[in-house]
Symmetry: D2
Subunit: 400 residues, 4 copies
């Protein structure tokens, strides 16, 4: 093993990273600095995390508040592209990885570390996302991925490992689901979900009501959108982060934003995940409604290409690349048009845009309906059709 002096570990306070602290010290004979990213995973996740890190043997613990930056600089750019992975997944975990990696590198620079470490398993996407970002931001720092090195392959063995070292840990030996949360979403894997023929049980979901439990009355919410970002909820101006948390609170009781999918991992196998993205689902519906008004046909088709491309880029952790800069710049050229108001109805798991308007709207009642107008002469259609279908006509005449 290569010589390491000081490593910055992406630390969560959970079982895995609690064990990684002593394991790094013992196996690399190095100082371990804990780094905790506050990406909106919730107060209970952060409570006492510094004390836990020190108790595990970390020399320092840096808690960095990334909540506003996550929403403003990672989530909204992604939203502007329209990216949805494989038709369904709103990329909640994927979007958080680059900002965490970036902040982790910044801590490493500050404390003069020569290595970075994380608690991702060897079968998942997150190892690739973290380490791809590390490669782009800090190619000189070593990366240690304990899950790919050690032989502690079960929760029991991790608990034993901690007990042997008298490191306190509140984790239980049995944990059914693997979860990951941030301001945008919470994900769930494991347990009965590992069989796609098995429905998720009620205990899977933690943020939202089921549609069945949701209120029998629908709720209307009005979003104000400016340049592709929601700037007010029901007329109240808010920061991007506040918009998201407000909409999470509004939408979760109505059962909005549950998704249950089998997806393709970057590392070649499939996995089944359940996701809850209540506020985000409402935001996406609103942005889609504005796009309906402001994007012309060729722009919309091209934006769908951008969305497809960007969804894989974000999922794959290629954030700090020229490809990201390129697709994002393309999307931002469109989001300058995305300004307007949308009213959405929340009801039993569904969000529906029921009213929409925009100063940049290309919709015009005058043009769409059957009356006469100056812009559109119905006789023009004949010429359009003749030329639009000319190659078909020529081809058909050839085949006679």
């Amino acid at each position: 093993m290569s010589s390491i002096k000081k490593v910055v570990l992406a630390y969560s306070g959970g079982l895995d990273t609690s064990a990684i602290v002593p394991w790094l010290k013992e196996n690399y004979n190095c100082e371990v600095v804990a780094f905790v990213a506050d990406v909106g995973q919730g107060a209970e996740e952060l409570e006492g995390v510094e004390a836990k890190a020190i108790a595990s043997g970390a020399s320092e613990c840096h808690i960095v508040d990334l909540k506003d930056e996550l929403v403003a600089d990672y989530i909204y750019p992604t939203l502007k592209t329209g990216a949805i992975y494989e038709g369904t997944y709103l990329l909640g975990t994927s979007m958080a990885r680059p900002i965490i990696a970036k902040a982790q590198v910044e801590v490493a620079r500050k404390v003069g570390a020569d290595a970075l470490s994380h608690g991702c398993t060897g079968k998942g996407n997150d190892q690739v996302r973290f380490e791809s970002c590390f490669a782009a931001l800090a190619p000189d720092l070593k990366v240690i991925a304990p899950w790919r090195e050690w032989d502690l392959s079960s929760r029991e063995s991790l608990l034993d490992y901690l007990a042997e070292r008298n490191i306190p840990c509140s984790a239980s030996a049995t944990k059914i689901y693997s979860r990951d949360a941030n301001a945008w979403h919470i994900s769930h894997e494991g347990g009965e979900l590992e069989d796609p023929w098995c429905q998720p049980s009620d205990q899977v979901w933690t943020w939202t009501n089921s549609p069945e439990q949701a209120p029998n009355e629908s709720l209307l919410v009005q979003l104000s959108i400016k340049n592709g970002e929601v700037v007010a909820v029901n007329g109240e101006q808010m920061s991007p982060f506040q918009v998201l948390t407000t909409l999470n609170e509004i939408a979760a009781p109505h059962g909005i934003g549950r998704v249950d999918i089998v997806e393709n991992r970057l590392v070649g196998m499939k996995s089944r995940g359940c996701y809850e993205t209540p506020g985000g689902t409402v935001i996406m519906a609103a942005l889609q409604a504005i796009d309906e008004l402001v994007l012309d046909k060729t722009s919309r088709k091209w934006k769908d290409t951008l969305a497809n491309e960007f969804s894989h880029l974000v999922y794959d952790g290629r954030w700090f690349t020229p490809l990201k800069d390129s697709i994002l710049a393309a999307a931002e050229a469109f989001s300058t048009l995305a300004t307007g108001e949308v009213v959405l109805k929340l009801y039993k798991g569904q969000v529906t845009a029921v009213q929409k308007q925009s100063e940049n709207s290309l919709y015009s009642e005058d043009f769409a309906t059957f009356g006469e107008d100056d812009v559109y002469d119905q006789s023009h259609a004949e010429g359009f059709i003749r030329l639009f279908s000319l190659s078909s006509r020529i081809s058909a005449m050839n085949n006679k």
Copy 2:
């Protein structure tokens, strides 16, 4: 005006085409043959249509049953590509136009006609779709589009026109919405829908319950899928058309398949439409669920490209083109994998795939979870990541 002897008119029995029959005879001094396509628009639409056509002055009326062929040869091919227009519209009207045009041309050949006519307005997509198909299938036949020629611009003037000629017509002077139905969907335009800030009233919708009116109990339905087509509902084998009508009946009460969008018309302006596609929405959810199991990551990304491309092709009426053959062939290479079972839950406007399995599934609990296996060695991930991110690393080292 050019000389025409016999014209085949796509006749519906409604006000417009009722007036077109005499208008063609008077203005082109020709025989008019009525052609009625049965694409599953419903028995009441077809009742007495032949008598009406003759009463309007048609020399013959040909009613052609296209229901099975529509579903098998136009809808399923489109479904196999995953095409959804501008993210939302399931292409119900678009898919029906090519088959109607083709059957109309066949009638024209049979009766020795030298022209084709339709009742589409000069501002819509359908005129382009019909005439593009005519160009591909019968470039030698003249096309007459009365709406682009005459000066009968209101319902009142059409009714007057018929009254003057003593042609009976049950149409009323006021008709709020313009609707189009076939086995797959019904569309609604006009009335208050012309203002996108205005919610659709209850009278817009004709096939489905509102989510609020839907039963309080959810319903499970199991679909059997073979090569990308649903072959059985709840274990009962059915033809493609039967599957669709059965699912329409099952899903409509649950409020499934309502869509309310502003879309880009091919002819350059936007329009607002409401669509009801109950059974189709269930079928699409089932096909998407199977795709989750059987398509690998690169295939899925490519299929999303096919879907985007095909959605515009179908919307634009480019059915009888080499481009259609190409994209469809590409999609069919994937649909050979799409075999399996899906259970879907219908509840208050939402359809959710809750169970899914396939003999071609690439999902394997063994590979996805954390235990050891023969196929995947966690240490392989390091090598993967290093090469996957190598260009980022080299670029970052350059920038030092």
Copy 3:
């Protein structure tokens, strides 16, 4: 015909626009302002053009020098996307249309005109390009396209028309080829070219030597590239326009940049054109060589998508659209990397990049060759391959 007071005509001094001036006055009873765009078509084309315009009956003649702006703001943006239409055509005519249309609108605003006119035929692309730009820049101005209105369908009839009005014109009754030139290229259509089985005769080509006539000695030229633009030729700093004219002079004798293709016109039929783009062909080869060094694999693949999309956009005259802004922004994210030096060999019709270097090069002899290095451990390849091919492996195991 609608009432017009003053029209600005895109005037070239050739036969067509010489006749259009009096035709507009007679048929629209309006004042005609001639507008001449200097896009580098050459001094002989511009000589005496103002006098000719006045002699034809124009009230004023505005000659606007667009040469620098054409190269800087229309040609280089297009080059940055890598756009080549249908694999071969370097878009010379297409790129010039938007800037001419824009300057024509500016003249119209200055002189208070209420209409615009051009001399494009009714079967070509240019009418669509001009009028699409007019629609985007001046939707309030009427557009008059005489070729779609009048019945002067031959050169003879145009000459007669001028002779009857005593308007002097040096044009001859027979002109074999239709040509269009600007700083970037000259195009040739008509004559024997209308048969694709017929080789272009020597008299088609006007700018370049044939490869056979080119010198027997090759010539090396070194280009310095900064952010996707050539800034120096053989070490001498130049403006974008100077670079282009210098390279035209250098490359034309060597027979560089001849192209002979059948292309798809936007209006639905095919046409056969010969193009000469000597300097441009050298510039494109140099930019391609730099891209080889600085773009990673995923970026390069995406840029090829941008190129395909942009080539049709430019060809189709969609310059002043959000789609242009989007694709161009995407391309510019890459062109910030395109800095370096390229030496090209010109020899008998071929240009070959024989030496290339860039400060942003991702090529490294250390990484590419077989020796050990810190960045790449050959054992990593095994892991990469295993995960890269994992879905194939799983699929194959399923099929056992």
Copy 4:
């Protein structure tokens, strides 16, 4: 090391695989079966190869003639998609890997082997291509890649290794270039090529004359194309393989098909390669010429998307995947149109299609020129333009 009984080695008779035979026996204690793929690399490469293999210690040597199948089933399908990697590379090595892998697996099945081995280095693409194909075709067989395992890192050490074992080898200690040949092309890497600022010396190239050395007289050659395949050269019917070898002989003296590029390897770094593809370059020019005649605009744009996608697929060794089936099916829908005759001029490094015709040509002199015709009414253009640019017009009117 896992237990292996019998391994089939892709054997070339060169230094590397000569050493791999004894190395496998010593390190895996297994029987080694040599497999030699005849992909048209030339008689001298194959001469005495079986004796060499036996002398190295192989128990058997299977020489399999893949020449016809390579051209018919791997090269032509790729050509039909139009794939060219990163704008320049004609994929010569890439296309040969899947067929070699497939034949190697077939030998393994025949002799009952439990492992496969190859001589590819750990930094190249070929290891990924071979092993991805193995994963798809024989996931049960072990793969041994000696270059990723052993410590024989130089030609000297390999020669010493053979000398110690008294295995005869005619290889010299110094070999400047690494080359790979098959019926389609020969590639060259290494030596002075490792510096992109360095021009290839004359000794790099082995198949073609330099343009300077080529005859001063151009040569015309006529190709007959049917369904996307060349079926006759100068009127003489030939098999696909014969066409290719015939054109190699015709084109090589004229300096056709030299390429010198820096490309992105799949494994993340760049490399510089020189390629000679004389006959293939002529074939591609002919197919492109036919496509100009028979593909309409939307089809051509889509085919360019197919080409981009397929070029990476082939380069990356993803041949035996659903993605390949999909893209290839899409391309074959177009190649059914690609029938006709092309005359090409070969002159000093350049191939130019100078005459072309097709029974499926969409080009028509009647439509392209200015005269009247029945198909195209010039007044139709106005309507086309108005609708084509309508969204620009509406947008511009909004912005007033």
